[in-house]
Protein backbone atom coordinates (compact mmCIF):
# COMPACT_ATOMS: atom_id res chain seq x y z
CA UNK A 1 0.00 0.00 0.00
CA UNK A 2 1.53 3.34 -1.00
CA UNK A 3 1.28 6.53 0.98
CA UNK A 4 -0.59 8.82 -1.48
CA UNK A 5 -3.70 6.76 -1.16
CA UNK A 6 -3.84 7.18 2.60
CA UNK A 7 -5.56 10.57 2.94
CA UNK A 8 -7.93 9.55 0.19
CA UNK A 9 -8.83 6.45 2.12
CA UNK A 10 -9.47 8.28 5.35
CA UNK A 11 -12.01 10.49 3.62
CA UNK A 12 -14.03 8.14 1.48
CA UNK A 13 -13.42 4.67 2.77
CA UNK A 14 -13.57 5.53 6.47
CA UNK A 15 -15.54 2.75 8.09
CA UNK A 16 -19.05 4.08 8.72
CA UNK A 17 -20.00 4.31 12.37
CA UNK A 18 -22.26 1.65 13.78
CA UNK A 19 -25.24 4.02 13.86
CA UNK A 20 -24.67 5.04 10.24
CA UNK A 21 -24.52 1.51 8.96
CA UNK A 22 -27.58 0.59 11.03
CA UNK A 23 -29.54 3.44 9.46
CA UNK A 24 -28.37 2.35 6.04
CA UNK A 25 -29.43 -1.20 6.74
CA UNK A 26 -32.88 -0.12 7.88
CA UNK A 27 -33.29 2.08 4.80
CA UNK A 28 -32.70 -0.87 2.52
CA UNK A 29 -35.42 -2.97 4.18
CA UNK A 30 -38.79 -3.53 2.56
CA UNK A 31 -41.71 -2.24 4.63
CA UNK A 32 -42.75 -5.67 5.93
CA UNK A 33 -39.22 -6.48 7.09
CA UNK A 34 -39.07 -3.07 8.80
CA UNK A 35 -42.30 -3.82 10.66
CA UNK A 36 -40.94 -7.23 11.63
CA UNK A 37 -37.74 -5.67 12.99
CA UNK A 38 -39.81 -3.17 14.96
CA UNK A 39 -41.79 -6.05 16.47
CA UNK A 40 -38.59 -7.84 17.41
CA UNK A 41 -37.35 -4.69 19.16
CA UNK A 42 -40.66 -4.40 21.03
CA UNK A 43 -40.54 -8.05 22.09
CA UNK A 44 -36.93 -7.70 23.25
CA UNK A 45 -37.93 -4.63 25.23
CA UNK A 46 -40.76 -6.56 26.88
CA UNK A 47 -38.41 -9.39 27.74
CA UNK A 48 -35.84 -7.04 29.31
CA UNK A 49 -38.31 -4.84 31.18
CA UNK A 50 -40.87 -7.49 32.13
CA UNK A 51 -40.47 -6.77 35.85
CA UNK A 52 -41.01 -3.04 35.46
CA UNK A 53 -43.90 -2.93 33.01
CA UNK A 54 -45.97 -5.75 34.48
CA UNK A 55 -48.91 -4.32 36.41
CA UNK A 56 -48.97 -7.35 38.75
CA UNK A 57 -46.64 -10.14 39.75
CA UNK A 58 -47.06 -12.96 37.22
CA UNK A 59 -47.91 -15.46 39.94
CA UNK A 60 -50.13 -13.24 42.07
CA UNK A 61 -53.47 -14.95 42.65
CA UNK A 62 -56.74 -13.09 42.97
CA UNK A 63 -59.39 -15.72 43.44
CA UNK A 64 -62.17 -13.15 43.57
CA UNK A 65 -61.29 -11.90 40.09
CA UNK A 66 -61.08 -15.18 38.16
CA UNK A 67 -61.64 -15.37 34.39
CA UNK A 68 -62.24 -11.63 34.02
CA UNK A 69 -62.43 -10.60 30.35
CA UNK A 70 -59.98 -8.06 28.88
CA UNK A 71 -60.76 -4.35 28.97
CA UNK A 72 -61.89 -4.28 25.33
CA UNK A 73 -63.98 -7.41 25.81
CA UNK A 74 -66.28 -5.90 28.41
CA UNK A 75 -63.87 -6.16 31.35
CA UNK A 76 -62.36 -3.41 33.43
CA UNK A 77 -59.03 -1.62 33.05
CA UNK A 78 -57.74 -3.31 36.23
CA UNK A 79 -56.66 -6.19 34.01
CA UNK A 80 -56.07 -5.00 30.43
CA UNK A 81 -55.94 -8.51 29.04
CA UNK A 82 -58.19 -10.10 31.64
CA UNK A 83 -57.35 -12.76 34.19
CA UNK A 84 -56.97 -16.52 34.07
CA UNK A 85 -58.60 -19.34 36.01
CA UNK A 86 -56.73 -18.41 39.20
CA UNK A 87 -57.26 -14.69 38.86
CA UNK A 88 -53.72 -14.03 37.65
CA UNK A 89 -53.24 -11.04 35.39
CA UNK A 90 -52.87 -12.25 31.78
CA UNK A 91 -50.84 -9.22 30.69
CA UNK A 92 -48.24 -9.72 33.43
CA UNK A 93 -48.05 -13.43 32.68
CA UNK A 94 -47.68 -12.65 29.01
CA UNK A 95 -44.70 -10.37 29.64
CA UNK A 96 -42.96 -12.96 31.78
CA UNK A 97 -43.75 -15.71 29.30
CA UNK A 98 -42.15 -13.66 26.54
CA UNK A 99 -39.08 -13.32 28.73
CA UNK A 100 -38.78 -17.03 29.49
CA UNK A 101 -39.52 -18.14 25.93
CA UNK A 102 -36.99 -15.73 24.47
CA UNK A 103 -34.42 -16.64 27.10
CA UNK A 104 -34.79 -20.36 26.39
CA UNK A 105 -34.69 -19.80 22.65
CA UNK A 106 -31.73 -17.43 22.84
CA UNK A 107 -29.51 -19.58 25.07
CA UNK A 108 -30.45 -22.73 23.16
CA UNK A 109 -29.71 -21.17 19.80
CA UNK A 110 -26.32 -19.96 21.05
CA UNK A 111 -25.57 -23.41 22.44
CA UNK A 112 -26.59 -25.09 19.21
CA UNK A 113 -24.48 -22.71 17.14
CA UNK A 114 -21.47 -23.25 19.44
CA UNK A 115 -21.79 -27.02 19.42
CA UNK A 116 -22.30 -27.02 15.66
CA UNK A 117 -19.37 -24.75 14.91
CA UNK A 118 -17.02 -26.70 17.19
CA UNK A 119 -18.06 -29.97 15.58
CA UNK A 120 -17.66 -28.45 12.14
CA UNK A 121 -14.20 -27.10 13.01
CA UNK A 122 -13.18 -30.47 14.44
CA UNK A 123 -14.35 -32.25 11.30
CA UNK A 124 -12.51 -29.83 9.05
CA UNK A 125 -9.36 -29.77 11.17
CA UNK A 126 -8.83 -33.47 11.84
CA UNK A 127 -10.54 -34.91 8.74
CA UNK A 128 -10.30 -38.71 8.67
CA UNK A 129 -12.36 -40.67 11.15
CA UNK A 130 -13.29 -37.60 13.21
CA UNK A 131 -14.92 -36.12 10.16
CA UNK A 132 -16.73 -39.38 9.41
CA UNK A 133 -17.99 -39.53 12.98
CA UNK A 134 -19.26 -35.96 12.88
CA UNK A 135 -20.95 -36.56 9.53
CA UNK A 136 -22.63 -39.72 10.82
CA UNK A 137 -23.93 -37.81 13.84
CA UNK A 138 -25.14 -35.03 11.56
CA UNK A 139 -26.98 -37.54 9.38
CA UNK A 140 -28.48 -39.22 12.40
CA UNK A 141 -29.69 -35.95 13.88
CA UNK A 142 -31.09 -34.79 10.57
CA UNK A 143 -32.97 -38.03 10.01
CA UNK A 144 -34.74 -38.19 13.38
CA UNK A 145 -37.51 -35.73 14.13
CA UNK A 146 -36.14 -33.66 17.03
CA UNK A 147 -39.53 -33.56 18.72
CA UNK A 148 -39.42 -37.32 19.27
CA UNK A 149 -35.90 -37.30 20.68
CA UNK A 150 -36.77 -34.36 22.92
CA UNK A 151 -39.89 -36.10 24.21
CA UNK A 152 -37.97 -39.23 25.10
CA UNK A 153 -35.11 -37.41 26.82
CA UNK A 154 -37.28 -34.92 28.74
CA UNK A 155 -39.78 -37.25 30.23
CA UNK A 156 -37.18 -39.79 31.23
CA UNK A 157 -34.63 -37.44 32.76
CA UNK A 158 -37.32 -35.48 34.50
CA UNK A 159 -37.60 -31.84 33.71
CA UNK A 160 -35.59 -28.92 35.00
CA UNK A 161 -35.11 -25.62 33.23
CA UNK A 162 -31.37 -26.21 32.84
CA UNK A 163 -31.83 -29.63 31.30
CA UNK A 164 -34.60 -28.31 29.08
CA UNK A 165 -32.42 -25.49 27.73
CA UNK A 166 -29.48 -27.86 27.27
CA UNK A 167 -31.71 -30.22 25.31
CA UNK A 168 -33.09 -27.42 23.13
CA UNK A 169 -29.44 -26.46 22.61
CA UNK A 170 -29.03 -29.54 20.46
CA UNK A 171 -31.70 -28.38 18.08
CA UNK A 172 -30.25 -27.43 14.73
CA UNK A 173 -26.59 -28.00 15.65
CA UNK A 174 -26.25 -30.23 12.60
CA UNK A 175 -27.04 -27.32 10.32
CA UNK A 176 -24.30 -25.13 11.84
CA UNK A 177 -21.89 -28.07 11.83
CA UNK A 178 -22.46 -28.69 8.14
CA UNK A 179 -21.99 -25.04 7.26
CA UNK A 180 -18.93 -24.61 9.50
CA UNK A 181 -17.27 -27.75 8.13
CA UNK A 182 -17.86 -26.86 4.49
CA UNK A 183 -16.72 -23.28 4.83
CA UNK A 184 -13.73 -24.15 6.99
CA UNK A 185 -12.45 -26.70 4.51
CA UNK A 186 -12.76 -24.04 1.84
CA UNK A 187 -11.05 -21.44 4.08
CA UNK A 188 -8.17 -23.78 4.91
CA UNK A 189 -7.42 -24.00 1.21
CA UNK A 190 -7.35 -20.24 0.87
CA UNK A 191 -4.22 -18.26 1.47
CA UNK A 192 -5.11 -16.36 4.59
CA UNK A 193 -5.45 -19.34 6.94
CA UNK A 194 -2.12 -20.89 5.94
CA UNK A 195 -0.50 -17.45 6.07
CA UNK A 196 -1.50 -17.09 9.72
CA UNK A 197 -0.33 -20.66 10.38
CA UNK A 198 3.03 -19.80 8.89
CA UNK A 199 3.25 -16.78 11.19
CA UNK A 200 3.13 -19.27 14.05
CA UNK A 201 -0.44 -18.89 15.23
CA UNK A 202 -2.03 -21.73 17.14
CA UNK A 203 -4.93 -23.59 15.48
CA UNK A 204 -7.31 -22.07 18.08
CA UNK A 205 -6.24 -18.60 17.08
CA UNK A 206 -6.60 -19.37 13.40
CA UNK A 207 -10.09 -20.81 13.85
CA UNK A 208 -11.48 -18.27 16.29
CA UNK A 209 -9.80 -15.06 15.13
CA UNK A 210 -9.47 -15.62 11.40
CA UNK A 211 -11.77 -18.29 10.03
CA UNK A 212 -14.77 -17.65 12.30
CA UNK A 213 -15.16 -13.97 11.33
CA UNK A 214 -14.96 -14.96 7.69
CA UNK A 215 -17.73 -17.53 7.86
CA UNK A 216 -19.82 -15.60 10.40
CA UNK A 217 -22.31 -14.08 8.01
CA UNK A 218 -23.50 -17.44 6.69
CA UNK A 219 -23.66 -18.78 10.24
CA UNK A 220 -25.71 -15.81 11.42
CA UNK A 221 -28.27 -16.47 8.72
CA UNK A 222 -28.50 -20.10 9.72
CA UNK A 223 -28.94 -19.01 13.34
CA UNK A 224 -31.79 -16.66 12.47
CA UNK A 225 -33.47 -19.66 10.90
CA UNK A 226 -32.86 -21.83 13.97
CA UNK A 227 -34.11 -19.26 16.48
CA UNK A 228 -37.81 -19.21 15.49
CA UNK A 229 -37.77 -22.99 15.18
CA UNK A 230 -36.53 -23.27 18.75
CA UNK A 231 -39.33 -20.95 19.89
CA UNK A 232 -41.81 -23.20 18.10
CA UNK A 233 -40.29 -26.35 19.58
CA UNK A 234 -40.21 -24.91 23.10
CA UNK A 235 -43.78 -23.69 22.90
CA UNK A 236 -44.92 -27.02 21.43
CA UNK A 237 -43.32 -29.01 24.24
CA UNK A 238 -44.55 -26.56 26.87
CA UNK A 239 -48.00 -26.80 25.34
CA UNK A 240 -47.92 -30.58 25.81
CA UNK A 241 -46.97 -29.95 29.45
CA UNK A 242 -43.46 -31.35 28.89
CA UNK A 243 -41.52 -28.11 28.55
CA UNK A 244 -41.23 -25.17 30.94
CA UNK A 245 -42.93 -26.21 34.16
CA UNK A 246 -45.20 -24.14 36.41
CA UNK A 247 -44.98 -21.97 38.43
CA UNK A 248 -42.71 -20.65 35.72
CA UNK A 249 -44.57 -19.66 32.61
CA UNK A 250 -43.80 -19.60 28.91
CA UNK A 251 -45.85 -18.75 25.86
CA UNK A 252 -46.61 -22.38 24.97
CA UNK A 253 -47.32 -23.13 28.60
CA UNK A 254 -49.95 -20.35 28.73
CA UNK A 255 -51.61 -21.68 25.58
CA UNK A 256 -51.60 -25.21 27.00
CA UNK A 257 -53.28 -24.25 30.24
CA UNK A 258 -55.56 -21.71 28.56
CA UNK A 259 -56.86 -24.47 26.31
CA UNK A 260 -59.08 -25.76 29.14
CA UNK A 261 -60.92 -22.44 29.00
CA UNK A 262 -61.18 -22.18 25.24
CA UNK A 263 -64.95 -21.83 25.40
CA UNK A 264 -65.39 -19.65 28.47
CA UNK A 265 -62.23 -17.53 28.43
CA UNK A 266 -60.44 -17.67 25.07
CA UNK A 267 -58.42 -14.53 25.88
CA UNK A 268 -56.09 -16.55 28.09
CA UNK A 269 -54.62 -18.32 25.08
CA UNK A 270 -55.23 -15.73 22.36
CA UNK A 271 -52.60 -13.25 23.52
CA UNK A 272 -49.71 -15.77 23.86
CA UNK A 273 -50.72 -17.46 20.59
CA UNK A 274 -50.55 -14.13 18.82
CA UNK A 275 -47.12 -13.43 20.33
CA UNK A 276 -45.74 -16.80 19.24
CA UNK A 277 -46.98 -16.43 15.69
CA UNK A 278 -45.99 -12.81 15.15
CA UNK A 279 -42.57 -13.24 16.77
CA UNK A 280 -41.58 -16.35 14.84
CA UNK A 281 -42.96 -14.81 11.65
CA UNK A 282 -40.92 -11.65 12.24
CA UNK A 283 -37.66 -13.45 12.92
CA UNK A 284 -38.18 -15.69 9.89
CA UNK A 285 -38.91 -12.73 7.62
CA UNK A 286 -35.84 -10.91 8.88
CA UNK A 287 -33.76 -14.08 8.46
CA UNK A 288 -34.99 -14.60 4.91
CA UNK A 289 -34.22 -11.03 4.04
CA UNK A 290 -30.74 -11.26 5.59
CA UNK A 291 -30.07 -14.47 3.69
CA UNK A 292 -30.94 -12.85 0.39
CA UNK A 293 -28.82 -9.85 1.32
CA UNK A 294 -25.72 -11.74 2.46
CA UNK A 295 -25.84 -14.65 0.06
CA UNK A 296 -26.63 -13.56 -3.47
CA UNK A 297 -26.03 -17.07 -4.81
CA UNK A 298 -29.18 -18.33 -3.12
CA UNK A 299 -31.51 -16.10 -5.05
Amino acid sequence: MNTPSLPDQSQTAAPPSLAQSAIQLIRSMPLLVRLCSLWIVVVLGIALLADFISPYSYSQLDLLARLRPPAFWGGSSDHWLGTDELGRDVLSRLFHSVRISLLVAFISTMLSATVGVLMGFAAAHFRGWVEQLVLTLVDFQASMPFMIIALAVLAFFGNTLVLFIALMGFYGWERSARIARGLTIAANEQGYASAVYDLGASPWRVYLRHILPNIASTLIVSVTLTFPEVILLESGLSFLGLGVQPPMTSLGNMVGYGREYLQSAPWILLAPSLFIVVTTFSVSMLGDWLRDLLDPTLN
Binding site: I148, A152, S273
Partner: protein
Protein backbone atom coordinates in the same frame (compact mmCIF):
# COMPACT_ATOMS: atom_id res chain seq x y z
CA UNK B 1 -27.46 -47.86 -8.78
CA UNK B 2 -27.60 -51.19 -6.98
CA UNK B 3 -24.44 -50.40 -5.04
CA UNK B 4 -25.80 -46.98 -4.16
CA UNK B 5 -29.01 -48.52 -2.83
CA UNK B 6 -27.18 -51.17 -0.84
CA UNK B 7 -25.05 -48.50 0.84
CA UNK B 8 -28.16 -46.49 1.59
CA UNK B 9 -29.86 -49.56 3.01
CA UNK B 10 -26.93 -50.34 5.30
CA UNK B 11 -26.87 -46.73 6.42
CA UNK B 12 -30.56 -47.02 7.22
CA UNK B 13 -29.89 -50.09 9.34
CA UNK B 14 -27.12 -48.22 11.14
CA UNK B 15 -29.55 -45.39 11.91
CA UNK B 16 -32.05 -47.89 13.31
CA UNK B 17 -29.35 -49.43 15.46
CA UNK B 18 -28.30 -46.00 16.75
CA UNK B 19 -31.88 -45.06 17.54
CA UNK B 20 -32.50 -48.27 19.44
CA UNK B 21 -29.26 -47.98 21.40
CA UNK B 22 -30.07 -44.36 22.16
CA UNK B 23 -33.53 -45.35 23.36
CA UNK B 24 -32.14 -48.16 25.45
CA UNK B 25 -29.50 -46.02 27.11
CA UNK B 26 -31.77 -43.09 27.81
CA UNK B 27 -34.59 -45.17 29.12
CA UNK B 28 -32.54 -47.55 31.26
CA UNK B 29 -30.03 -45.14 32.71
CA UNK B 30 -32.46 -42.56 34.04
CA UNK B 31 -33.90 -43.59 37.33
CA UNK B 32 -35.55 -46.73 38.51
CA UNK B 33 -38.76 -47.64 36.71
CA UNK B 34 -39.75 -49.88 39.61
CA UNK B 35 -40.06 -46.86 41.91
CA UNK B 36 -42.24 -45.08 39.42
CA UNK B 37 -44.56 -47.88 38.53
CA UNK B 38 -45.09 -49.00 42.08
CA UNK B 39 -45.65 -46.50 44.83
CA UNK B 40 -42.61 -45.27 46.77
CA UNK B 41 -43.71 -47.00 49.96
CA UNK B 42 -44.11 -50.41 48.31
CA UNK B 43 -42.43 -53.21 50.28
CA UNK B 44 -38.80 -53.75 49.21
CA UNK B 45 -39.48 -57.38 48.35
CA UNK B 46 -42.16 -56.32 45.88
CA UNK B 47 -39.78 -53.82 44.26
CA UNK B 48 -37.14 -56.54 44.05
CA UNK B 49 -39.58 -58.96 42.46
CA UNK B 50 -40.62 -56.29 39.99
CA UNK B 51 -37.00 -55.62 38.99
CA UNK B 52 -36.36 -59.36 38.60
CA UNK B 53 -39.53 -59.83 36.61
CA UNK B 54 -38.54 -57.13 34.11
CA UNK B 55 -34.86 -58.07 34.05
CA UNK B 56 -33.85 -54.73 35.57
CA UNK B 57 -31.46 -56.35 38.06
CA UNK B 58 -29.03 -57.63 35.42
CA UNK B 59 -25.96 -55.56 34.48
CA UNK B 60 -26.66 -52.94 31.86
CA UNK B 61 -24.77 -54.63 29.05
CA UNK B 62 -26.67 -57.87 29.63
CA UNK B 63 -29.93 -55.99 29.42
CA UNK B 64 -28.64 -54.41 26.20
CA UNK B 65 -27.77 -57.73 24.56
CA UNK B 66 -31.00 -59.29 25.75
CA UNK B 67 -32.89 -56.35 24.37
CA UNK B 68 -31.54 -56.85 20.86
CA UNK B 69 -32.04 -60.60 21.10
CA UNK B 70 -35.66 -60.05 21.91
CA UNK B 71 -36.08 -57.55 19.11
CA UNK B 72 -34.65 -60.06 16.66
CA UNK B 73 -37.28 -62.55 17.80
CA UNK B 74 -40.05 -60.00 17.31
CA UNK B 75 -40.46 -59.49 21.03
CA UNK B 76 -40.68 -55.79 21.74
CA UNK B 77 -41.37 -56.09 25.43
CA UNK B 78 -44.52 -55.60 27.40
CA UNK B 79 -46.24 -52.47 28.53
CA UNK B 80 -45.53 -52.03 32.21
CA UNK B 81 -49.01 -50.72 32.79
CA UNK B 82 -51.31 -53.47 31.58
CA UNK B 83 -48.78 -56.17 30.65
CA UNK B 84 -49.95 -56.39 27.04
CA UNK B 85 -47.32 -56.60 24.27
CA UNK B 86 -45.99 -53.09 23.63
CA UNK B 87 -45.95 -53.46 19.86
CA UNK B 88 -49.63 -54.48 19.89
CA UNK B 89 -50.51 -51.31 21.76
CA UNK B 90 -48.66 -49.29 19.16
CA UNK B 91 -50.02 -51.19 16.17
CA UNK B 92 -53.64 -50.86 17.24
CA UNK B 93 -53.24 -47.07 17.28
CA UNK B 94 -51.81 -46.86 13.76
CA UNK B 95 -55.10 -46.91 11.81
CA UNK B 96 -56.33 -43.88 13.76
CA UNK B 97 -53.13 -41.95 12.99
CA UNK B 98 -53.20 -42.96 9.32
CA UNK B 99 -56.81 -41.91 8.95
CA UNK B 100 -55.66 -38.38 9.70
CA UNK B 101 -52.23 -38.53 8.13
CA UNK B 102 -53.12 -39.92 4.69
CA UNK B 103 -55.80 -37.36 3.76
CA UNK B 104 -53.61 -34.63 5.26
CA UNK B 105 -50.67 -35.83 3.17
CA UNK B 106 -52.73 -35.77 -0.03
CA UNK B 107 -53.98 -32.27 0.77
CA UNK B 108 -50.43 -31.13 1.55
CA UNK B 109 -49.15 -32.31 -1.82
CA UNK B 110 -52.04 -30.79 -3.75
CA UNK B 111 -51.93 -27.40 -2.07
CA UNK B 112 -48.18 -27.14 -1.61
CA UNK B 113 -47.07 -28.17 -5.08
CA UNK B 114 -49.71 -26.24 -6.98
CA UNK B 115 -49.12 -23.10 -4.92
CA UNK B 116 -45.35 -23.41 -5.35
CA UNK B 117 -45.49 -23.98 -9.10
CA UNK B 118 -48.03 -21.21 -9.56
CA UNK B 119 -45.94 -18.75 -7.55
CA UNK B 120 -42.79 -19.64 -9.49
CA UNK B 121 -44.52 -19.19 -12.86
CA UNK B 122 -45.78 -15.78 -11.73
CA UNK B 123 -42.58 -14.65 -10.13
CA UNK B 124 -42.55 -11.18 -8.54
CA UNK B 125 -46.24 -10.54 -9.15
CA UNK B 126 -48.45 -9.67 -6.20
CA UNK B 127 -49.82 -13.20 -6.13
CA UNK B 128 -46.30 -14.60 -5.83
CA UNK B 129 -45.54 -12.28 -2.92
CA UNK B 130 -48.86 -13.07 -1.34
CA UNK B 131 -48.22 -16.83 -1.59
CA UNK B 132 -44.71 -16.46 -0.15
CA UNK B 133 -45.95 -14.47 2.84
CA UNK B 134 -48.77 -16.95 3.34
CA UNK B 135 -46.26 -19.78 3.20
CA UNK B 136 -43.97 -18.15 5.77
CA UNK B 137 -47.02 -17.51 7.96
CA UNK B 138 -48.10 -21.14 7.61
CA UNK B 139 -44.60 -22.30 8.36
CA UNK B 140 -44.19 -20.19 11.48
CA UNK B 141 -47.65 -20.92 12.85
CA UNK B 142 -47.29 -23.77 15.37
CA UNK B 143 -49.82 -26.51 14.75
CA UNK B 144 -51.29 -26.25 18.24
CA UNK B 145 -52.08 -22.56 17.72
CA UNK B 146 -53.56 -23.25 14.29
CA UNK B 147 -55.60 -26.15 15.63
CA UNK B 148 -56.92 -24.19 18.58
CA UNK B 149 -57.82 -21.23 16.36
CA UNK B 150 -59.74 -23.55 14.03
CA UNK B 151 -61.54 -25.01 17.04
CA UNK B 152 -62.31 -21.53 18.30
CA UNK B 153 -63.83 -20.47 14.99
CA UNK B 154 -65.48 -23.61 13.64
CA UNK B 155 -66.39 -25.48 16.81
CA UNK B 156 -66.87 -22.85 19.54
CA UNK B 157 -67.87 -19.87 17.41
CA UNK B 158 -69.84 -21.28 14.49
CA UNK B 159 -70.66 -24.67 15.97
CA UNK B 160 -70.24 -26.40 12.58
CA UNK B 161 -67.72 -29.04 13.57
CA UNK B 162 -66.88 -31.02 16.72
CA UNK B 163 -63.85 -29.83 18.66
CA UNK B 164 -62.29 -33.16 19.61
CA UNK B 165 -62.72 -36.93 19.67
CA UNK B 166 -63.08 -39.44 16.86
CA UNK B 167 -66.74 -40.48 16.77
CA UNK B 168 -67.66 -39.47 13.20
CA UNK B 169 -65.84 -38.49 10.03
CA UNK B 170 -66.64 -34.85 10.78
CA UNK B 171 -64.30 -35.16 13.75
CA UNK B 172 -61.42 -35.68 11.34
CA UNK B 173 -61.93 -32.48 9.35
CA UNK B 174 -60.23 -29.96 11.65
CA UNK B 175 -57.23 -32.17 12.53
CA UNK B 176 -56.66 -33.00 8.85
CA UNK B 177 -56.71 -29.31 7.93
CA UNK B 178 -54.36 -28.49 10.81
CA UNK B 179 -51.92 -31.22 9.79
CA UNK B 180 -51.93 -30.29 6.13
CA UNK B 181 -51.56 -26.49 6.23
CA UNK B 182 -48.12 -26.35 7.83
CA UNK B 183 -46.70 -29.01 5.51
CA UNK B 184 -48.26 -27.37 2.48
CA UNK B 185 -46.52 -24.11 3.38
CA UNK B 186 -43.10 -25.78 3.60
CA UNK B 187 -43.69 -27.67 0.39
CA UNK B 188 -44.83 -24.54 -1.44
CA UNK B 189 -41.59 -22.76 -0.53
CA UNK B 190 -39.43 -25.65 -1.69
CA UNK B 191 -41.39 -26.22 -4.88
CA UNK B 192 -41.23 -22.53 -5.72
CA UNK B 193 -37.47 -22.24 -5.34
CA UNK B 194 -36.87 -25.54 -7.15
CA UNK B 195 -39.08 -24.39 -10.04
CA UNK B 196 -37.38 -21.00 -10.18
CA UNK B 197 -33.99 -22.66 -10.44
CA UNK B 198 -35.16 -24.99 -13.20
CA UNK B 199 -36.97 -22.27 -15.14
CA UNK B 200 -33.71 -20.35 -15.42
CA UNK B 201 -31.94 -23.27 -17.13
CA UNK B 202 -31.09 -23.19 -20.79
CA UNK B 203 -33.01 -26.35 -21.68
CA UNK B 204 -36.23 -24.57 -20.74
CA UNK B 205 -35.32 -21.75 -23.10
CA UNK B 206 -34.50 -24.31 -25.79
CA UNK B 207 -37.77 -26.12 -25.28
CA UNK B 208 -39.83 -22.98 -25.60
CA UNK B 209 -37.67 -21.67 -28.43
CA UNK B 210 -38.31 -24.75 -30.53
CA UNK B 211 -41.98 -23.89 -30.34
CA UNK B 212 -43.34 -26.23 -27.69
CA UNK B 213 -46.60 -25.24 -26.09
CA UNK B 214 -45.83 -23.51 -22.78
CA UNK B 215 -47.97 -25.99 -20.92
CA UNK B 216 -45.88 -28.84 -22.25
CA UNK B 217 -42.65 -27.05 -21.34
CA UNK B 218 -43.83 -26.66 -17.77
CA UNK B 219 -45.31 -30.13 -17.37
CA UNK B 220 -42.71 -32.22 -19.20
CA UNK B 221 -39.52 -30.22 -18.99
CA UNK B 222 -39.62 -28.07 -15.88
CA UNK B 223 -41.61 -30.07 -13.35
CA UNK B 224 -39.78 -33.40 -13.52
CA UNK B 225 -36.51 -31.56 -12.92
CA UNK B 226 -37.95 -29.53 -10.08
CA UNK B 227 -39.31 -32.73 -8.57
CA UNK B 228 -35.91 -33.94 -7.42
CA UNK B 229 -35.25 -31.44 -4.59
CA UNK B 230 -38.96 -31.43 -3.74
CA UNK B 231 -38.92 -35.20 -3.29
CA UNK B 232 -36.41 -34.88 -0.46
CA UNK B 233 -38.80 -32.67 1.48
CA UNK B 234 -41.72 -34.99 0.77
CA UNK B 235 -39.67 -37.94 1.98
CA UNK B 236 -38.93 -36.12 5.20
CA UNK B 237 -42.63 -35.40 5.59
CA UNK B 238 -43.55 -39.06 5.28
CA UNK B 239 -40.89 -39.90 7.80
CA UNK B 240 -41.95 -37.30 10.33
CA UNK B 241 -45.60 -38.23 10.10
CA UNK B 242 -45.70 -39.50 13.67
CA UNK B 243 -43.84 -36.51 15.06
CA UNK B 244 -46.41 -34.25 13.45
CA UNK B 245 -49.18 -36.34 14.93
CA UNK B 246 -47.96 -35.81 18.49
CA UNK B 247 -49.20 -32.25 18.87
CA UNK B 248 -52.24 -32.39 16.61
CA UNK B 249 -53.61 -35.57 18.16
CA UNK B 250 -53.20 -34.01 21.59
CA UNK B 251 -55.08 -30.87 20.54
CA UNK B 252 -57.99 -32.84 19.10
CA UNK B 253 -57.97 -35.75 21.58
CA UNK B 254 -57.48 -38.16 18.69
CA UNK B 255 -56.61 -41.67 19.89
CA UNK B 256 -53.61 -42.23 17.63
CA UNK B 257 -49.92 -43.03 17.93
CA UNK B 258 -48.96 -39.45 18.79
CA UNK B 259 -51.08 -39.34 21.89
CA UNK B 260 -49.89 -42.78 22.88
CA UNK B 261 -46.36 -41.41 22.75
CA UNK B 262 -47.17 -38.46 25.01
CA UNK B 263 -49.00 -40.59 27.56
CA UNK B 264 -46.44 -43.38 27.63
CA UNK B 265 -43.59 -40.89 27.96
CA UNK B 266 -45.44 -39.28 30.87
CA UNK B 267 -45.97 -42.76 32.41
CA UNK B 268 -42.41 -43.88 31.68
CA UNK B 269 -43.74 -46.95 29.93
CA UNK B 270 -40.34 -48.03 28.59
CA UNK B 271 -41.36 -50.79 26.22
CA UNK B 272 -44.05 -48.70 24.56
CA UNK B 273 -41.74 -45.72 24.06
CA UNK B 274 -39.09 -48.00 22.59
CA UNK B 275 -41.56 -49.56 20.19
CA UNK B 276 -42.71 -46.10 19.16
CA UNK B 277 -39.14 -44.90 18.64
CA UNK B 278 -38.52 -47.97 16.52
CA UNK B 279 -41.65 -47.20 14.52
CA UNK B 280 -40.62 -43.58 13.97
CA UNK B 281 -37.10 -44.56 12.97
CA UNK B 282 -38.36 -47.25 10.61
CA UNK B 283 -40.77 -44.92 8.82
CA UNK B 284 -37.99 -42.34 8.60
CA UNK B 285 -35.46 -44.79 7.17
CA UNK B 286 -37.86 -46.41 4.72
CA UNK B 287 -39.13 -43.03 3.55
CA UNK B 288 -35.55 -41.97 2.82
CA UNK B 289 -34.88 -45.22 1.02
CA UNK B 290 -38.00 -44.76 -1.06
CA UNK B 291 -36.91 -41.26 -1.99
CA UNK B 292 -33.56 -42.66 -3.14
CA UNK B 293 -35.31 -45.23 -5.33
CA UNK B 294 -37.61 -42.56 -6.73
CA UNK B 295 -34.60 -40.39 -7.57
CA UNK B 296 -33.35 -43.16 -9.81
CA UNK B 297 -36.77 -43.47 -11.41
CA UNK B 298 -37.11 -39.76 -12.11
CA UNK B 299 -33.50 -39.03 -12.96
CA UNK B 300 -31.75 -41.50 -15.28
CA UNK B 301 -28.39 -39.99 -14.33
CA UNK B 302 -28.76 -41.28 -10.78
CA UNK B 303 -29.72 -44.71 -12.12
CA UNK B 304 -26.61 -45.03 -14.23
CA UNK B 305 -24.46 -43.84 -11.34
CA UNK B 306 -23.34 -40.55 -12.83
CA UNK B 307 -25.39 -38.12 -10.83
CA UNK B 308 -24.97 -34.51 -11.87
CA UNK B 309 -22.73 -32.35 -9.78
CA UNK B 310 -24.25 -30.31 -7.02
CA UNK B 311 -27.19 -32.67 -6.80
CA UNK B 312 -28.32 -34.02 -3.49
CA UNK B 313 -27.99 -37.76 -3.74
Amino acid sequence: MMRFLVIRFLRGLLTLFLVLSFAFLILRSTGDPAMLIMSADAPPEALEAFRKGWGLDAPLWQQYVGYFKNLAQGNFGYSMRDKSPAMDLVLERIPATLSLALPAFALKLMMGISAGVYAALHRNTWIDRFLISLSIAGYTMPSFVLGLMLVLVFAVGLGWLPSGGDATWQHAILPVITLSLGGAAVLARFTRSAMLEVMGQSYIRTASAKGLVWRRVVLHHAMPNAAIPTLTVIGFMVGSLIAGAVVVESVFSWPGVGRLLVTSVANRDLAVVQSLLLLVATTMVSANLMVDILYGWIDPRVRSGQAGQGKKA
